[in-house]
Symmetry: C2
Subunit: 199 residues, 2 copies
Amino acid sequence: MRRQETIDEIVAEAWELSRANGLANFSMRELGTRVGMRAQSLYSYFGSKLEICDAMFLDGNRRLLETMRAETDGFDITADPTGTIEATARGFLRFCTSDPVRYQLLFQRTIPDFVPSPDSFAVAQEAFDLAIAPLRAQGIDDQGVDLFTAVLAGLAAQQISNDPGGDRWERVIPSAITMLLRELCPNLYPTPPSTRSQP
Amino acid sequence: MRRQETIDEIVAEAWELSRANGLANFSMRELGTRVGMRAQSLYSYFGSKLEICDAMFLDGNRRLLETMRAETDGFDITADPTGTIEATARGFLRFCTSDPVRYQLLFQRTIPDFVPSPDSFAVAQEAFDLAIAPLRAQGIDDQGVDLFTAVLAGLAAQQISNDPGGDRWERVIPSAITMLLRELCPNLYPTPPSTRSQP
DNA sequence: GTCTATAATCTGATAGAC
DNA sequence: GTCTATCAGATTATAGAC
């Protein structure tokens, strides 16, 4: 389908402009010019600018889904639970920090009046469920998952806004994951006795 | 000074409009009307719209400074380190979640072309230093502080964007702080032997 | 599907009278 | 300090020819 290709190109350019000027900080004129048409012609592909944002949201979540799938691919949850969990955590963080604007669209509510359509929200849900599957497999409960996601979200947020392009919080990942696994499944990841004081 | 009162009123209304329409999503006309003048008259108080944003940034950080001061007020760091740390953490989180737009301005870089002035940045630095003082007092190093701030930032971010107005991640605070203190100063906050498996 | 034309409105900002 | 007048341009979106 040629139409689908055009749609994909529009979305790709919308990402490009957002990365350069800030999320959704492009005009229909600007976007149209980028894809080689007048702004008005965009309306035969999308009903409004917010529909383009929704297409970006869908696209971003599809990529997240792919990333999480690829990241857990070489791992066997039952055979190597900690390896799988660490891989998903690292994959998720790399996904976030590698594209701050995408992180902003997917995980923060920052575009006024933007509400994801049911279709794109479903993909977001699917990606989230896949990402936390290794945690569920270890019997971690709702509160544990919330704690885990909060730590990952925090590392991403800090890295993006306080050290963009650097690795200051990326370097904290190992100790963060160790800490989380110690807290959430101590039987799986016991504290090394040598490093702890015995009362 | 009557001039200062007007300036304060402008900033207050800018917050109000941002809370209603999204951060910095107000026009000078709109803001002027709110404070009872034409948009053009605002320019005798601020040189540009971004200067108003900077005044908001300064105001927000001053309030953060006040909050952190008030929160640690009843505590003695040397006598009750964990109590002090818990209080500052809770105070910080309440500060963040109670005003998502303020959180967005203070802790995320989301307004295009906005750069804090040196003066307002200095206040931000002062607030941060005060907030982590109890951690430093416990000898927690740079990486430890980064881990701590990441967890707090994550709890705030998740609470704000995934459960606004609720308390889903607020309820995780106790276990998060316990986990952090266990990890970062085990001598101060030893793991209760009863709940752990002995190898 | 893409175009021209245009609606209808908003934008931040400046000049100068009073 | 506040006003009127205005600049110079932007914005999303629609109508209708081709």
